[in-house]
Symmetry: C2
Subunit: 242 residues, 2 copies
DNA sequence: CGAATGATTGACATGGGTCAAGAACCGTGG
DNA sequence: CCACGGTTCTTGACCCATGTCAATCATTCG
């Protein structure tokens, strides 16, 4: 419910993400220009809204830590989750064209983001032409990811949907994780079920089945998992195993 | 099976798509530069392969007419369709980052494409900086579309999946269609079923149900439909109606 | 015209949705 | 720290939608 707090500091240089964010494409001497243009370190509490579907879209958001979901609300009250975003991801790239938020975004946990207006980004791009290459690179990545995620959902069985989902989440978290088998699910079961097109009860049952079969381990909190038998999980994902 | 034939002509000026393709962002006097860099009017016969998953990716492809599907082949032989592309669409934008084809693409009908190498596009971009804006616009659109398509699949019931799919296809075809209610499905039932995560028989049954309920009309060939009761189709899509 | 491929329909089995109850977890206040 | 209520997750029982298998019909192409 709470909005963003005031920025704490304006320094991209000591950001852990700098190497795969805007500064990476700009020489160290000129980086001060970036911090002039990017609003850094906005905090959002769990459940806080980043933006609302239908509003004018003016910024992209880079997640420094934490996670967000994006969702579409239908007139009849139903919601469709269409994306989960985590550390290092950029939110709202799909709205740059139309300038209107095509979905709403809310924080899944206490999170921190940096935001850049489309307009200022264009200014920066004219100053630093290499930035255009970066934009294309990042967009291409985002498209690849989005097609990858499609794989979860176009599968027929609930088991292979969840298995695929877990593998993709794991791969994305591995960029910052130390333990390569650890999975942290910041979203609720309801959100996952919605995203995968399953009933929450089915999802829960599949979780227990994956646990009993020994391919994943559930820890104390239901948001903490680890992959125990990656090979088996992969076979579930591809639908060979049931 | 057959490959591309030789280019017929090299002229973007008289192309119906020019207004929403590269030339649109370049002054008329300089357009000759575009035709020097783009390979225009390659023809692909039905079932012909545009590129193969795993190969080095060097080009994007603009569909002049016709349609293509992209699909991922799993080691165990199964295929997953992850996209349908039609007139005006650009194929392979997701591979620009990694430089490797993440899927295979094949023609669903006799089609014509223009292709541009990533490299030459970068050259052109340096010459015409506005092109970078176009790239971002096009990528943003592609992302928006891909999220839109996700809606089809994350729905629970087969009926709302197909209804959503038909509405999206219709909207995309309306850009060039005269009759706004006409739908032409160049892909097989098998392809649609695969894409929507349904069995082909279920899909077929849903088609008949949509037909019997009067919301779509099937014409002589199974690829030709029209929307008869758009409102009802929309209710099916949103899951209000069953 | 006939074979091959693709689409539809029918009969049956089952995975997963629905409803309901119970368990685990979380935040709040004492 | 524990007690309490609300929320979220899990489990069970039941049944329907959809997958599977098989037969038929339609369409395409030689």
């Amino acid at each position: 419910m709470s909005g963003p707090n005031t920025p704490i500091r304006n320094d991209c240089d000591e950001c852990a993400l700098a190497s795969r964010c805007f500064p990476a494409f700009i020489s160290v001497e000129k980086r001060f220009r970036v911090t002039q243009i990017i609003t850094t370190n906005l905090t959002y509490d769990k459940t806080a809204l980043l933006y609302r579907q239908g509003e004018k879209a003016k910024h992209i958001y880079i997640i420094k830590f934490g996670s967000f979901k994006t969702y579409i609300s239908n007139p009849n009250g139903t919601e469709y989750i269409n994306g989960f975003y985590m550390t290092g991801d950029i939110i709202n790239m799909e709205s740059v064209d139309q300038g209107i938020h095509l979905n709403s975004a809310s924080a899944l946990e206490n999170s921190m983001v940096c935001k850049v207006s489309f307009l200022r980004l264009t200014i920066l791009k004219d100053e630093f032409p290499t930035l255009a290459n970066m934009a294309i690179k990042v967009y291409s990545q985002a498209l690849a990811l989005s097609q990858d995620l499609l794989k979860c959902i176009s599968k027929q069985s609930a088991t292979s949907r969840l298995a695929t989902f877990l593998l993709i989440i794991n791969r994305r978290q591995n960029i910052q994780n130390q333990d390569p088998d650890k999975i942290y699910l910041s979203m609720s079961r309801q959100d996952i079920a919605n995203y995968l097109g399953l009933a929450i009860e089915t999802l829960s049952r599949v979780f227990t089945r994956l646990n009993e079969s020994g391919c994943i381990i559930k820890h104390n909190r239901h948001s903490d998992l680890s992959i125990h038998d990656r090979d088996l999980l992969q076979r579930y994902a591809s639908g060979v195993e049931n």
